[in-house]
Symmetry: C2
């Protein structure tokens, strides 16, 4: 008998028929004798519907009250799944964040989990119940509802799995695992059977939407074995996300990612002296704009160029900030490109194999694609290219690094 | 500066436009310097929608989980109203049952309030906030969500008004007060300016739907001044429900009510000995059927006839129970009439005036209406008549007892 945490996403519980199907799947695992904690998202579309109601009442809906509003989505799903499981004859109890004291900070809409008390779940399981938990929500010190950010029902599931020391945390979604690349762009992309936490982190950070970034971080920290599976395809084994092992190093590159919604800003002729980077990026951070890659060229005549990327829909606001700062610091000028793409390759094999970057640049050169920026980490190499070459770059890199394996799989 | 509790029903918050209108009304009172606690129902239709979801997943949805489900309706309304008030610039905080420790018994779907802690509301008001509270819900000793029964947002409002010692509890609904009779049946019906708790209790018990019975009981016990008003008609003063005073006794009859969904069962030839009533009504009560009027004729030959009324849609189940019992106790036979109506007159003036019953019977006789059963209380007289005479009886009684006043009002 194992203790398993399962999480079903919005499309998996998107209709009453699908909730019935989820209940059948849960019941099947329960019949095998396992203890089950099931975390659910809001029914697909519900969270957006609720946000839209708020937006029709206020230009900037109060964050505390918006959390009270949108948390109802998961509450409805949890109750409906529990009702169905009860109807099938399985003792089931649903729990909301306040009942499990899923304590978070007070950052409404993007709260971080500080602690979880699972006493009520442990008690419910010991009495033979299935526990169903509303994902995505917590409470702050005052006892007010907070939400954990988009996609954060994954986080609820991983946090519960960590505290309960579950033998696995199964994330059921509308795809059957983690792919070497987005199959919509790379027809040769294939499902990975296993991937390390570090690789998954890089891929989630790079825009692979299958798992929420923070839940992978949490899973890594508490060594929670994660598996991503399809709710709709029982045949597929999904993708296991776990500790890195030596066999993983044989694979040079595990995945290729593309983020086609980037833009690039360059500040020319910046005096190369301490504190200027803070002067430049401080106001941007305060405006809530996330800066991704930052490159500073080697200084020659005491002046340097600083280039960085932001999401395309933050470009205008970022430029507003930068123009103010550029005057203050006496920069030479500002240029920007609003249509750039970031293409990355990820793989723990890079740690032990040299020459991966060189090969990546060769592949792109062969396609005639100019590289505008380069950034590397221990297990990742990202390049920024003109947006129109994004998909071509992705396919070329996939063919080069993953083509052989893809052919094997076919 | 007064502390006022307001409650807005489902139609009053039935759309975003109406929520905006409620926010405007609340803001207006706030600008007058009053402290405000606003209790809201679910948006019209929402509670039914949620119940229907549950019913599609289970023939008998688990009551605990159904409460988790349907409580979201009020949560959404409370959050939306708070968002709107914030957008208008009024500091506002919403509260759910668990945050106010609205402690109830464990009777899901029909829970009774045991205690309320208003510390968070008092604190919020002292900081200049408007408090918005989700009606209809509580928590039991375990901290699980309970609901208080249909129409019970009134109860939440009255309970809060009692604990907070509010100067008034204003119930905003889709009618502009309590009427002497249902205006759909009695065109001459008029709004009462004032009515006593006792009269309101009888009228609520007799089917006047404007106020929930238990909230009137609670208001009477804690002497909470209640006023029923229309959300849509600012001109009307509504109806005040309060303590009886001597001027009320001048009015013989305050209202006429009609319940046209009754049926009547008679058990003939019952041996007139102790314990038989319990034998008859025990199984009916166990089947969850509410028996309204019970009449036992004076015993002549040691045998008696027992007649009682039940709601029409309980008739079949009541007969099933009664047939079993009738055989056991050797009754002479069973007869029933499925189309009867109960017509009642209510008024505290009856306490001090004789002859009201006699006059009531004369009025009905003049219309050729046969009285099948009679039951009286200190301030109420009810008669059962054939259903087809129900509306006629109501109009005739209204004309006789309230016609003069109605004419005055015109």
């Amino acid at each position: 008998m194992a203790l398993i945490v399962q999480k079903y996403g919005g499309t998996s519980v998107g209709s009453l028929e699908r909730i019935k199907a989820v209940a059948d799947k849960v019941a099947q695992v329960r019949r095998q004798g396992h203890q089950l904690v099931v975390v659910v998202s809001a029914m697909a579309g519900e969270t957006n519907r609720l946000f839209k109601l708020a937006e029709q009442l206020s230009d900037a809906p109060n964050p505390r009250e918006t959390d009270v509003l949108v948390a109802t989505g998961e509450q409805v799903s949890a109750a409906l799944l529990a009702i169905r499981l009860r109807a099938l004859g399985y003792p089931t109890v649903s729990f909301l964040a306040y009942q499990l004291k899923i304590l978070t900070d007070a950052c409404h809409g993007q709260a971080r989990i500080k602690s979880v008390e699972c006493d009520r779940i442990i008690h419910a399981l010991s009495e033979g119940n299935i526990a169903v938990v509303a994902g995505y929500q917590g409470i702050n010190e005052k006892g007010d509802i907070t939400t954990l950010g988009r996609g954060a029902s994954d986080l609820t599931a991983v946090a519960l799995a960590a505290v309960l020391k579950a033998s696995a945390c199964e994330i059921y979604t509308d795809v059957d695992g983690v792919y070497t690349a987005d199959p919509h762009i790379c027809p040769k992309a294939r499902r990975l059977e296993r991937i390390s936490y570090d690789e998954m982190l890089e891929m989630a950070g790079l825009g692979a939407k299958v798992l929420q970034l923070r839940s992978v971080e949490l899973a890594r920290r508490y060594r929670v074995p994660l598996v991503v599976r399809s709710s709709f395809d029982d045949a597929s084994e999904g993708t296991w996300v776990g500790e890195e092992d030596t066999s993983m190093e044989d694979v040079l590159v595990s995945g290729v990612t593309l983020d086609n919604n980037q833009s690039k800003i360059t500040i020319n002729g910046v005096a190369d002296r301490p504190g200027l980077a803070a002067r430049i990026f401080g106001p941007i951070a305060e405006a809530g704009i996330v800066v991704d890659m930052i490159i500073q060229n080697a200084s020659a005549d005491g002046r340097t160029d600083m280039t960085f990327t932001v999401a395309r829909n933050d470009l205008r606001r970022a430029l507003d900030q930068i123009r103010l700062v550029a005057d203050e610091i006496g920069a030479g000028g500002i240029s920007f490109e609003d249509q750039v793409a970031k293409v990355s390759i990820v793989g723990v094999g890079m740690r032990t194999h040299a020459g991966v970057a060189a090969r990546m640049f060769q592949v792109l050169a062969k396609e005639g694609i100019n590289i505008e920026m380069i950034a590397t980490s221990e297990i990742k190499i990202s390049v920024v290219v003109n947006s129109k070459y994004g998909e071509l770059a992705m396919r070329a890199l996939h063919d080069a690094f993953l083509g052989q394996l893809a052919a094997d799989a076919v």
